[in-house]
Subunit: 300 residues, 2 copies
DNA sequence: CCTCCCTATCGGAGAAGCCGATGGCATGAT
DNA sequence: ATCATGCCATCGGCTTCTCCGATAGGGAGG
């Protein structure tokens, strides 16, 4: 049994085909085919169903899948441990968290941690659903996400809270209205992100509460673009407060004092069991995140 | 990375030399030397210190050791899972437990368990210290031992209790004495096992309580030999009651009613964490052992 | 029916695995 | 000191495996 064979198998399953796996791995197609044949001869059981449109795991292959992942993980962990490197902690986060919050936490972690609690940290930015996929498939060790989504049955911890706020540029018509009513809000145009994004979800919930008449001025996939548009007075946006913390403090955006609608958000850390040497650093990091919540994170 | 290389490394460490490992594995000495060189080239770090009297792991090799074991374990588990075999549960036990108690428990387990709680069970008989060694090194998944010995920091459960009894053949002079006093006992000659055995420990404790004048008639390493000697009237023996249960019920041995000295024994199950698919069967087995304690096991 | 994409197979070149034999090196006995 | 012993690395050889490019088969979709 060879890690190459397991990696080949895993890549075939993940890419859905032998040819694509071969290209990804830098082998000839025939070589991967050979490797798989060797693996199946070794195991005594076919693990892949080859069809003319692709290759999918058999029942035995599905049983093999988690083992292949664990073995390859263990192989990486082994190499780090043997060569005396620090353990690797692969975390994932939503873009907003990765942009506005993780950098400070991670620098604090780098400076504060010591002994067995240090680790090399990689951060992967992705959507909530993809983050959970990667966590479940073992490509990530831990994720930080804004709550919601299906239940997670692994270990987790609440890291902090935030609320959703309605922001505009200070020059925006709504910015001077006190107090602000829902009727005023309905006049304005909104900047929103694409469906599936946490911010879009907030907006949709807000829309359900307020009524169906909210006007969408622009849809963008990039959080930074959306913020810049708001700063330039192109409309209002409904966002977690921490994600516009710097704009609020610099005055580029103002928070409207609307009583209705603000949604409470929970920032949660979720991780895998059996992390090995990365477990201690992760726990230390999670504790740090809980202590680290800046003033702007407090629930008001 | 290849399982052969890891197996070679592990065998070298366990046998203390490359030549011995090669012989054990069925390779030529030069082949194992090659395998190790390949492994070290792959890892980029020397993992073995070769000397003219043997080979021992370097610091990096000691870090490699637990990973090698886990990987090889995982490889075996994988093969079982993929080929649809039941998980393997490797248990170890003291000879007395393996002889007098486990057979019935295991047949009950075989007949009663179902679904994911079945497993192929292997039983290894060994001394308490070796059992704990093999458990810690991952060659056994669980052990059943009579308590005592150093603390164990893994999961464990008390499976039952027993007491130590003084037995002789019914024809033995002591058998007719009622009530029996310590003075009577000191007249008799004892059959004992070798140092290190649980029975010998009972005897030694008894000796400390009674006084230093106990007479040893014979020392034997075999529990069966000791029992047959007792049955044939060659002396008295101090043994856990369950280990002579059949002889007591058949009348081949009688239990002397000595008030002093009986020691309480705890039968304990200890197992590893991270058993994988063998965990559910083990828990089921442990529960079964707790329910299964026959009447003769009750503490009186 | 033809085309396209995916995969298996084949033959050859190169690499790796394995072996037996040899030699170096430290230890321990003579 | 010297020799013998046991351990390991190295070398040349044979075999086997690995990988590749090219080719062929076989279903899906136009």
């Amino acid at each position: 049994m060879d890690t190459r064979q397991l990696r080949a198998f895993l890549t075939v399953v993940e890419t859905g085909g032998i040819s694509s796996a071969a290209e990804l791995l830098g082998y000839a197609q025939s070589s991967v085919s050979d490797q798989l044949r060797t693996l199946e001869r070794d195991l005594g059981v076919p693990v892949l169903n080859r069809t003319s449109i692709g290759t999918v795991p058999t029942e035995a292959g599905q049983r093999l899948l988690p083992y292949a992942r664990r073995l390859l993980d263990l192989d990486n962990e082994l190499r780090r441990s043997v060569t005396g490197q620090r353990p690797l902690l692969r975390i994932g986060a939503l873009q907003s968290l990765a942009d506005e919050w993780l950098p400070e936490v991670l620098t604090a972690f780098d400076h504060g941690a010591a002994g067995p609690e240090t680790a090399d940290v990689t951060v992967t930015v992705s959507s909530r659903t993809r983050l959970m996929e990667e966590l479940n498939e073992g490509r990530l060790d831990a994720v930080f996400t804004l709550d919601s989504g299906p239940k997670y049955d692994g270990p987790s911890a609440v890291v902090g809270y935030d609320r959703v706020v309605l922001v505009t540029a200070p020059t925006h018509p709504l910015a001077g209205v006190h107090p602000l009513t829902l009727a005023d809000v309905k006049q304005s145009e909104f900047l929103v992100t694409e469906i599936g994004c946490i911010y879009r979800q907030c907006f949709d919930e807000f829309g359900r509460d307020v009524g169906p008449s909210l006007k969408i001025a622009m849809i963008t996939g990039s959080l930074n673009a959306l913020r810049r548009l708001a700063v330039n007075g192109r409309g209002a946006a409904l966002l977690p407060r921490f994600s516009v913390a710097s704009e609020l403090s610099s005055g580029d955006l103002v928070m409207l004092d609307l009583k209705e609608g603000p949604v409470r958000l929970t920032v949660e850390a979720r991780w895998r069991e059996g992390l090995g040497p990365a477990e201690a650093p992760l726990r230390s990091l999670v504790e740090l995140t809980q202590k680290f919540s800046p003033a702007s994170w407090a629930m008001t």
